[in-house]
């Protein structure tokens, strides 16, 4: 009767911070310090509308200035905190995470989606752009970046069918049923 109980899954707070995350925090901290400084300068130099004799405490740059000052403080804290925690091999781990197969898959999504939304939409009719995108997306992720890869002959009909159906249904439903103009 002694049934083996599975180990309880850890609650999110139980996990220790990996070294790669500490270095990622350092990079993020520096990025936010730069961003906050730029915004602070932008807010300080923003037109204070003195010619319109507005109350100086209501100048448009007041709130962005306060917010960027707060972001600057947070950025400095994040940077200093990441510098203080030892993270052996942190940069190497972070580099490995950036060139991992997972990140490559995300990169492939990014390339496909950017080509679709920045180049194809607007250049081709929407239904054609959508069909091409769906076809390419399914093909890339089923026949190339999948583990195990699907045979091309099995993926092709699916990719083509889904592309045609998506292009037709999205165009018809939005333009005819919901009366929305498509890009």
């Amino acid at each position: 009767m002694a049934q083996e109980l599975p180990d309880p899954a850890p609650l999110p707070a139980d996990e220790a911070v990996p070294p790669a995350m500490i270095k990622a925090d350092l990079a993020a901290g520096i990025f936010f310090v730069v961003l906050a400084t730029a915004t602070l300068v932008g807010s300080w130099t923003m037109d204070r509308l003195e010619a319109r004799r507005i109350n100086p405490m209501t100048a448009p740059g007041l709130v962005p200035g306060l917010l960027s000052a707060a972001l600057l403080v947070c950025g400095i804290i994040l940077t200093l905190r990441s510098l203080r925690i030892p993270a052996p091999e942190g940069w190497r781990d972070l580099g490995r995470a950036i060139i991992s197969s997972g990140a490559q898959r995300a990169g492939a999504v990014l390339v496909l989606t950017l080509i679709y939304s920045l180049v194809l939409v607007g250049l081709l009719p929407f239904w054609l752009a959508t069909g091409v995108f769906v076809f390419a997306f399914v093909l890339v992720f089923e026949a190339w970046l999948a583990a195990p890869r699907q045979p091309l002959l099995r993926t092709l009909p699916w990719a083509f069918g889904l592309a045609v159906v998506t292009a037709a249904v999205v165009t018809l439903v939005f333009e005819r049923l919901f009366l929305v103009r498509l890009p």
């Binding site: 109980l5 599975p6 180990d7 309880p8 609650l11 999110p12 707070a13 995350m21 990622a24 936010f32 915004t39 932008g42 923003m46 037109d47 509308l49 319109r52 109350n55 405490m57 209501t58 448009p60 740059g61 709130v63 962005p64 917010l67 960027s68 707060a70 972001l71 947070c74 950025g75 994040l78 905190r81 197969s101 997972g102 990140a103 898959r105 995300a106 999504v109 990014l110 989606t113 950017l114 679709y116 939304s117 920045l118 939409v121 959508t130 995108f133 769906v134 997306f137 399914v138 089923e142 889904l162 998506t166 999205v170 939005f174 919901f178 009366l179 929305v180 103009r181 498509l182 890009p183």
Partner: protein, 508 residues
């Protein structure tokens, strides 16, 4: 009191017609499917559906969006139990006990318990919504410009504190970045263009819907496609409809979790995931069998599901009465309400009191629909889970593009969606929460306008911000919240409170 009951009866009868009932059924079912599909979250579903409901009558549009929202929060439990992947972030706590139950051959029981406890959680939240919202709306009429400034700041701070898991600093930073994004474009006090860099499309600022579709849609697609491992569906053969005794044995847990979920919902920008974790942690502390938690505890499953579902009506309380979104999905609902000419806020109960009770009625109907659909459509929902994500995500991205384009018909909004998607993905990978960022975008204008308007009224004197009673209280809460998030301070305070030391901080 009787006025309220009368309005509620009106709200219910308002939707007792074939078109509304049809909309309730399909929208709840679509919500369940969206929630069940990993990579499609409640917030994303609501954001994408705003486009589809654009041409509907306001009451039907809100009905559809509310049904999608509550359906999706429930639908996530199906995936959590059968695949060990939370269908939406709200079901992460459900995975801990739901999946072990499924592995023990009790998948049907787990799904049945999840369905009934979701329904009960929503009912507890609905009662709170119907009772608290009118009172809060009345109290909110006393709020002036000073109080609204603090409320907006409080919303961002508390959301940052509670959604960032164990690192509030990142939550605050996400919130501040959101507020800064809201600063882009024409400000409303002096009509001055800020940070537009000569780009005409930025003059109107960054629209919330494309930003949300990016941060919750495109970013999610990138996150889902990054993973290589495919999960296996656990088969279920046992009975799905639970015995009443199995559910009501844990009535204390249900009521406790429902109340915790509702409270978490009321807190601005803190959503269903925190509601589920907080209820789960409380149930574990109070349970007679805490060692079973994480190993297939029915009580844990009930706590998580009641907790996350009660957040939905709870989140509508500040959303409707203060226009402070109680969760990320509620932020989209605010944007949708504005599109349809409904103005949430303290004046809602004066301008259109029927709206609140219509929303209560919609939630009641969608709960019924969840109960019926969830307990009957076990097999069809199983086939939904088998859809390969490679095919699904391609279609979802097309919907993201259409969804962000359709409202104002500008390609610029598609670029905003892409930008927020990429930034959202990177920030999420670095454990920055998205909810405070979104809350910042929606509350930025409120914060900016009320601070400077307050200073204009007093000719530059900031003292009313600290001396008016309600302002002083909210300001005090903000200061304590920030101080307590500094490890050195909270450690010393905890050392002074012996009872707090015994308890683990829990999640949320």
């Amino acid at each position: 009191m009787f006025d309220g009951l009368g309005l509620l009866a009106n709200g219910i009868s308002h939707f007792l017609n074939p078109i509304s009932l049809f909309n309730i059924v399909w929208a709840t079912l679509l919500g369940i499917v969206i929630g069940a599909l990993p990579g499609l979250t409640a917030t994303m579903g609501v954001a994408l559906l705003v486009t589809l409901t654009y041409k509907m009558a306001p009451d039907q549009a809100i009905l559809v969006l509310m049904c999608i929202y509550s359906g999706a929060i429930y639908g996530g439990s199906r995936t959590a139990i059968l695949l060990a992947i939370p269908g939406t972030p709200a079901s992460a706590a459900t995975t801990l006990d739901g999946h072990p139950l499924a592995l023990q051959g009790k998948a049907g029981l787990a799904m049945g318990l999840a369905t009934t406890s979701s329904a009960l959680g929503t009912v507890i939240g609905i009662v709170a919504l119907a009772l608290i919202a009118p009172l809060l709306a009345e109290a909110a009429l006393k709020f002036g410009t000073y109080e609204f400034f603090w409320l907006a700041l409080f919303g961002v701070i508390i959301s940052g504190q509670l959604t960032a898991m164990d690192d509030p600093l990142k939550g605050y930073m996400a919130g501040i970045v959101g507020l800064l994004v809201a600063m882009v474009g024409m400000e409303t006090l002096h009509a001055h263009q800020r940070f537009t860099f000569g780009i005409a499309s930025l003059g109107g600022g960054v629209d919330l819907i494309p930003a949300m579709v990016g941060a919750f849609g495109f970013a999610e697609i990138l996150g889902v496609m990054k993973r290589t491992a495919q999960a296996r569906i656990v088969s279920s053969s046992d009975r799905v409809v639970p015995k009443l005794g199995e559910v009501f044995k844990y009535w204390k847990t249900i009521i406790r979790s429902g109340l915790i979920g509702t409270f978490v919902g009321i807190v601005p920008g803190v959503g269903e995931d925190v509601g589920a974790w907080a209820s789960y942690a409380a149930a574990k502390r109070a349970s007679k069998e805490p060692h079973m938690f994480g190993r297939g505890s029915q009580e844990g499953l009930i706590a998580a599901e009641t907790g996350n579902s009660a957040v939905v009506p709870g989140a509508m309380i500040p959303t409707l009465t203060l226009a402070l979104p109680g969760s990320a999905a509620a932020a989209v609902l605010i944007a949708a309400m504005f599109i349809h000419g409904i103005r949430p806020g303290p004046l809602l109960m004066t301008e259109s009191p029927e709206t609140l009770y219509q929303i209560v009625a919609v939630l009641l109907f969608s709960t019924l629909a969840i109960l019926v659909l969830g307990l009957t459509l076990t097999k069809p929902l199983l086939t939904v889970l088998a859809v390969p994500r490679e095919r699904l995500m391609a279609v979802v991205y097309v919907l993201c593009v259409v969804g962000s384009f359709a409202i104002t018909q500008r390609l610029f909004d598609v670029y905003v969606m892409v930008g927020f998607g990429i930034a959202g993905f990177i920030l999420r990978e670095m454990k920055f929460p998205m909810a405070p960022l979104v809350l910042g975008i929606i509350l930025g204008d409120l914060l900016d306008l009320n601070l400077r308007r307050g200073l204009l009224l007093t000719n530059g004197d900031p003292s009313p911000f600290f001396t008016r009673p309600i302002s002083a209280v909210i300001c005090g809460v903000i200061i304590v919240t920030i101080l307590m998030s500094i490890p050195a301070v909270s450690k010393r305070v905890r050392a002074l409170l012996p009872s707090a030391r015994a308890q683990s901080p829990g999640q949320g």
